[in-house]
């Protein structure tokens, strides 16, 4: 089960790195901009 623990730790590290990278390149801003305004067609109103 050492192998599994290693995979879990690696994934935890990877996910944090991915989150950091995503925020750095502006993805979080895109998420925010879309989430605070209603694009009607995007949610199936229309």
């Amino acid at each position: 089960m050492q192998k599994k623990t290693a995979i879990q730790l690696a994934l935890l590290g990877l996910s944090v790195a991915m989150i950091g990278f995503g925020v750095w390149r502006g993805e979080a801003d895109t998420v925010f901009a879309k989430a605070i305004r209603l694009c009607m067609e995007c949610v199936g109103i229309g």
């Binding site: 895109t30 901009a33 879309k34 305004r37 209603l38 694009c39 067609e41 995007c42 109103i45």
Partner: protein
């Protein structure tokens, strides 16, 4: 195995039920199902359904009616004023009778007559959702700001136009971006009537540079050359803009800065919405 057959039978029933509901009959808040084909008053459940019927008639002969709408400019609208929108359409069409064949003109007259009858039904309905042939529904707050090219603008631009179509959008909204080309076409068309299309990008309020850069790219790629403006988010106009819930939303503003008719919600590249917009424009011209 028996149980399996029963399950399959159930799923089939549900799929059949689904195919019925997908025809729009079960959507409780949808007003689409009220479209009747004859002007029978009892068939209309709401003012909106009457308006939808009128729009359908106009759309059926879109090419013909477009010619009529184009001819309605601030110069000749003064003598087209009439209480019933159907009469307004009749008179406007008669003015340019020679642009149509006898058949086409007869179609226009028939359409106008039908709309006249629908308007009479509409008048009997107790509804707060008054059609665009009624007065304005508020005022566009005064503002000072800039356009995307850095020029100063303020609300005096409304006076300079016979009417202004104000479209609210934001960069991440794909249907908003999708209609930028159509809005540009509309701008070219309404120029002849003395009107103008103006865009307000919600993310660009306060002059957010990143957003404006991105917006400019989108506008360029879509070939949209009409003015886009921004102003302070904390101003009255900014509050008005930030209160808009759904996008894209399009308002028509008359010469005096009044909002005309209800805002068009959703893209104007949809026949229904376009016809509604046209109604608002005609009402603005008639002010």
């Amino acid at each position: 195995m028996k149980k399996m057959n029963r399950i399959i039978g159930m799923i089939l029933c549900l799929v059949l039920a689904l195919s019925l509901t997908a025809c729009g009959q079960s959507a409780p808040d949808s007003i689409q199902d009220a479209q009747a084909s004859n002007a029978n008053p009892s068939k209309y459940t709401s003012a909106q359904s009457v308006l939808d019927e009128e729009n359908q008639i106009l759309n059926a002969s879109k090419d013909l009616w477009d010619k009529v709408f184009l001819s309605m400019s601030k110069e000749n609208m003064a003598d087209i004023l009439a209480d019933n929108y159907g009469d307004v359409l009749k008179i406007a069409a008669e003015k340019i009778k020679d642009q149509f064949t006898d058949e086409e003109f007869q179609k226009l007259m028939d359409d106008a007559q039908q709309i006249r009858q629908l308007e009479e039904i509409l008048a009997t309905m107790p509804s707060e959702e008054t059609p665009a042939s009624a007065a304005s529904t508020g005022v566009f707050p005064s503002f000072t700001g800039k356009d995307f090219d850095g020029n100063d603008v303020d609300s005096s631009l409304f006076e300079k136009n016979a009417f202004t179509v104000v479209n609210f959008w934001f960069n991440e909204c794909s249907p908003c971006v999708g209609e930028l080309g159509d809005l540009n076409e509309l701008n070219e068309k309404v120029k002849e009537q003395g009107g103008e299309v103006i865009g307000v990008n919600i993310g660009a309020l306060d002059g957010n540079e990143k957003t404006i850069e991105a917006a400019k790219k989108l506008l360029e790629a879509k070939g949209a050359s009409y003015r886009n403006i921004y102003f302070d988010a904390s101003s009255e106009a900014g509050t008005f803009a930030l209160n808009i819930l759904a996008f894209p939303t399009t308002y028509v503003v008359d010469r005096n800065g009044n909002l005309v008719g209800d805002p068009i919600m959703g893209g104007i590249n949809n026949a229904n919405q376009m016809a509604q917009l046209q109604k608002n424009i005609d009402a603005a011209l008639a002010q």
